[in-house]
Symmetry: D2
Subunit: 334 residues, 4 copies
């Protein structure tokens, strides 16, 4: 961390500041120029509140050199994290498909989709029970009943299940859920993250629509600070000025996040684009960029899906995509 | 709502679709062209799920003509809503200052700031007890203790208080709070919004960093759908590519939101810019644009504030700004 | 095109408007509802000025159903355009690498890089002579001299050359240039586009940093309206709130642009990310997404490049990437 | 400027780098920590190419402390620049209205609008002759003939004229033009900027849709580097994810630009919002934020304007706005 002091700061003010930094356990290196004094702060600066420093009268600007996330930082954990989901491994070279319908709609629907995506190569079943919708008048999911149907599908197919939590008060219902998803809109619901940090569940943390990669890692840090290190990061598109696709899938985030962090990164091409016909090219591109997994919406009857039908593909299309994905993985593994 | 059908759709498919629309209580007007058939849907389309329609095979594109929010819509409620906060009126020509520190830090601090901002013209006291911070290592607020100190300040100064909720489980603690703030990061925490819809508290709803005006109104609709119509909208800056200011204050949103909705709109220039020296020009600009109130961070000792000191102004600056604001209000009223 | 009329418009006003539309050669279909009258305009609406319509007092809103570009539109030209560059074909299944240094620096440099990238699989040589730089104090390219060196490299290696034009007054110098590049900052330099429309050169048109896909196609339309249909579109990253990578590479644009238009689409992963270590994953992802070519900065000595060294790779890395790219192409063709 | 070196850099590499910096006339201050060596570079760093440094193998990151613009920088020119336009002063406390139609359409139109806006308080007449339009099929302006009509209006009303240049080859036609406007799409047309730097015309430089304030100042620097210091900056809205208004007017840019630079700043609320009914609130807000002038589209018959009618106001509305603007100016001047 670098602190640039304002012109004309008194010697005593500088000394007071340096003493304060040393009290935080930091080493301080001073560069005194004709016009500017620069302090280099060395040590664990992740706990220094940058806003507080910027408010000090004698400081012109403060810039971080190292990142304020620690547990999620690859610098301190050079090896890839491998997540174990009921025996299914993800990360560190282990690639997985997470597939299933946007919403759980009925016993028959979830079972049919689950059986078909399993045959097609998916090892993890996704399905929404609690649905975050922009409008209060849109379908909000089957909620608790949806979770029950998912669990039945898990029993019948043996696939671990992935589903979204929207409210910490429903946590008890997630006891048999294998991967709890935190949606884009809740990425900075810090109280939810803290609570999930006290569980031992695998958390699939989606990047917020307007959140930087570093903020995503700070949100992972919230969970990890509570003791839960089982986190899968998920890129699902950010909001830009382009409106032709629903979101702008930021695939550069895949190699960048894997460089900054040891956590695995999966990509959700269905939500990113909002269009079924873009799922294949974006799924292949995500894998070529190095993703550790893909989360894809598959529906047995997309035109009649109760939500997001426009972005769902059929089990047959999923199977065809999955086969191409495997071949692209072969190429990039070398 | 307009639905454009694909080329080559059969007569029977069109009829099935029309029957379905009519079942939803909508009138359907058909324009048949050589190349395209267009259906005009007339009636209450707010409950039609646009994603579902887009997923239907025979539809090329669907566009809304009217907005999907109803309770918040000025079309159906032409008169300005006036919010009553313990006798203090906001909206419909009633302008208010909401002032106070970013965080409640101590008994003396909150009482000193409260007394001073009251003298300077503020009628409502703000102060954070639960603080949403990007990093788990930053100061998270005094929480319950902070709320107690705020309530003391309310008793001593007679000012209604405004403070942020982050978790629906703490709602009981907000019994004596006059205005519950929903922060930008929780604007689409739909479960929180639904719960607040079942209270009779005034809700100050901040626009999310990447949320459109229409999404803000849809979030207000979530609260109103539960029966609580006491909502104040708050523009506090959006995220753009410009990084020199912390956010980009979107002042066009003030007249736009007031045109789209009957709810009052306040502006928070402190969070929007993140710089104390921009508070004055942006506060004046917000008022000139027609804001119904201003929410301003004031600290008795900004350089030592425990959070966001960089954007806090002193009570003396606040008083000077408040006086200019009143003069600008005179001009635009008349 | 759909025009929604305001409430309370008189019969005569509607008739005047309809007559005006018919005068433009359009068919008009009327849907009269209780609250709203909607006109469906059918025919060639590409020449209707949407801003003009929005300004008419009796109109509430106008929405395009079909796109305002015509020559570039796949609807009217279903087959892929194949561009012939001195015998090298690009588009319609023909994939090409365009490689070379950011800037032409010297005779030896351009010749060495050209020879090496040719060996490694590139068929087209890029090199900047006129360089658009944000600062007037940064290196602006060797200009005319740079073009001469490029042409020498073309003669010696037989590779067609690609280089950027910044000013229509230098067009004479580009006589022996095979592909003229229009940079992102000039994508809406309409006078330049018009002039290029009167040449028979192949134009590589880069998407602007804040331009939508449809605006890119409208800029292509400017060139095509002049008679020149030899256009290659180039996605090179857009500007979003994320600053960790220089730009946000929008790979969804590849399949989207190819759906909207018959023109070929290449991707420039070097400028998009600004980091050499992201060139490989983003190049592979671009190809997996369906790109017709890649434009990659290659320098014999990246650390000493006079511009953009940070994003240049060595010829050896290029060769290794090119080989993987070919394998990914096999998969997606297959 | 701060350069952070990578771990494990050899002593000799550091010395070579320091010698290189000293050769550029910079003082170098070294902070050696256990993990990192930081170099503080002091002196005129505006001519150091930051991309070049980032490309060096031994450097981890480079950050600017001071800004790379010099002539436009308030640090080196603390006093406000006052622009003299044929005797009309703008900047340094002198406020001006620039008003007139989007496009010059006819002799009668421009003369009528000019006469009326002059009576209403405008001292400068705007009018477009060369029009940048997204579509090649939209009205492109009367071009040379439009300039002639503008000049006639200048002669008859005595008002200096402001009009846009799109192509350096038309510069001769601008001899009697008082203020040459560079539009948003040409803000980084560097060759155009360079040429205008060799004239002695006043240049009104509009901020690009996706350009930061610092890039705007770098573009001003291009003109100033050529010797022309008569520059007026113009904020006209940036592109964000919000699409309800055409652009997002960034009013924080007004006080920020005036802090960073000594150049005057005007605001164009017409283009920023694209809606006539937003011109008044945004004009008042711009003035409250400290703008040195307003550029407003006024048309004698907005519904029949040949371009941008939707955002034009009548002379009567302009007069009413101008009177309120003057009163807000009184308030903020104190």
């Amino acid at each position: 961390m670098i602190a640039v002091l304002k012109n004309g700061v008194s010697k005593q003010q500088v000394e007071t500041l340096i003493t304060w930094f040393k009290g935080k356990g930091l080493d301080v290196h001073i560069s005194e120029g004709k016009f500017q004094t620069i302090l280099g702060l060395i040590g664990d600066t992740s706990k220094v509140d940058i806003d507080l420093l910027n408010g000090l009268e004698i400081i012109e600007t403060v810039k971080r050199i190292s990142d304020p996330f620690k547990s999620a930082n690859r610098k301190f954990h050079p090896d890839d994290t491998v997540i174990d989901i009921g025996g299914i491994k993800l990360g560190g070279g282990n690639f997985q498909f997470i597939a299933g319908p946007c919403s759980v709609e009925s016993h028959d629907q979830i079972l049919e989709v689950a059986t078909k995506v399993k045959q097609a190569g998916a090892n993890l079943l996704r399905g929404g029970a609690f649905k975050p919708r922009t409008s209060p008048y849109d379908f909000q999911g089957l909620k608790g009943q949806g979770l029950e149907l998912l669990k039945e599908a898990k029993v019948k197919t043996g696939m671990p299940i992935v589903t979204e939590i929207m409210n910490i008060n429903t946590l008890d219902l997630f006891e048999d859920v294998d991967v709890i998803q935190v949606g884009a809109r809740n990425m900075q619901n810090f109280d939810l993250l803290k609570e999930l940090g006290h569980t031992n569940k695998v958390i699939l943390l989606k990047r917020g629509l307007a959140n930087t990669m570093k903020e995503l890692l700070m949100s992972a840090e919230y969970i990890m600070a509570g003791g839960n290190e089982n986190i899968i990061l998920c890129e699902r598109g950010i909001r830009s000025f382009e409106t032709y696709t629903r979101n702008t899938l930021d695939l550069s985030a895949v190699p960048m996040l894997k460089e900054l962090s040891h956590l695995p990164v999966v990509v959700d091409p269905s939500h990113a684009t909002g269009m079924a016909r873009l799922v294949r090219p974006m799924a292949l591109a995500a894998v070529a960029a190095g993703a550790d997994g893909l989360m894809i919406e598959v529906h047995n009857d997309p035109p009649h899906a109760l939500c997001d039908g426009a972005q769902s593909i059929t089990p047959e299309e999923f199977e065809s995509i999955a086969q191409q994905v495997k071949k692209v993985r072969e190429v990039i593994k070398g």
